[in-house]
Amino acid sequence: MKRRLTPEHRTTIIYGILCIVLIIVMLQLWLLMATMNAYLGGDESVIWPAALASLVCFTLNAGLLWYVYRMDRR
């Protein structure tokens, strides 16, 4: 049997999710700056891997947001 989440539980969970999302977004910002610098300097080798890494980061974030929506529906 699934336990119903209390507002306190949900607030704790949202704090945890927010921390993870913030770390991932900062990582994406750094990745974008580094890729832009490499692109302007003519280095093409990092562009594809950086785009894929950023896509993975976004997928993780979207997954966490989906979990928040699912938690709200309970």
Binding site: I14, V21, T35, L40, G41, F58
Partner: protein, 182 residues
């Protein structure tokens, strides 16, 4: 009778009883735990949207890189005659596209150097200073070595893209632009 859990009641910020609260708070009760939750949840949504924007940015760079590769090799283009530029003198020209302003500097009787004129920091136009052996950016006091285009002072970290030159029959030709500088 439905038993309500403690968390489901509106909790005043001081944790006191609702009837002990000031009148204005009784008129406009705010459920602080719920308010905290909703504001954090909305901020999380905004951050995920920011994450999407960064991902779009990465794919935009990918698209720009694809278009850059499609352009292929730049054409060979006459820039100036040798007599047109005195030793230590410079000349502006556009190469390979109309918006790519470059600067040609004569460093000796038979030697020329040319670079894209956009500073690699924030794209201000660099000014050749032959007597000091540098290309100077007045916007943020950056400078580049005249012989190599490498940054020597100020905020720029990447060298200026070099324009390949050839002198044939008294004419200076631009034969290509260096894309990779890092």
């Amino acid at each position: 009778m439905i038993r309500q859990e403690r968390e489901h009641f509106t909790v005043p910020p001081d944790g006191g009883r609702p009837e002990d609260q000031p009148m204005w708070r009784q008129d406009f009760p705010i459920d602080w735990p719920q308010d905290n939750y909703v504001s954090r949840r909305d901020f999380t949504k905004f951050m995920v949207l920011t994450s999407l924007a960064f991902t779009f940015g990465q794919f935009w760079i990918l698209g720009r890189n694809f278009l850059r590769k499609q352009r292929g090799e730049p054409p060979i283009q006459p820039v100036a005659s040798v007599d047109q530029v005195p030793i230590g003198g410079s000349l502006s020209f556009v190469y390979p596209e109309a918006h790519d302003t470059c600067v040609l500097v004569r460093t000796g009787p038979e030697t020329f150097v040319a670079y894209n004129q956009k500073c690699t920091h924030l794209a201000c136009a660099v000014i050749p200073q032959f007597d000091q052996g540098r290309l100077y950016c007045p916007c943020h006091v950056g400078s580049f070595d005249l012989e190599t285009g490498s940054p020597t002072a100020g905020p720029p970290r990447r060298p200026l893209p070099k324009i390949n030159l050839e002198v044939r029959g008294g004419i200076v030709y631009a034969t290509g632009a260096e894309v990779k500088t890092v």
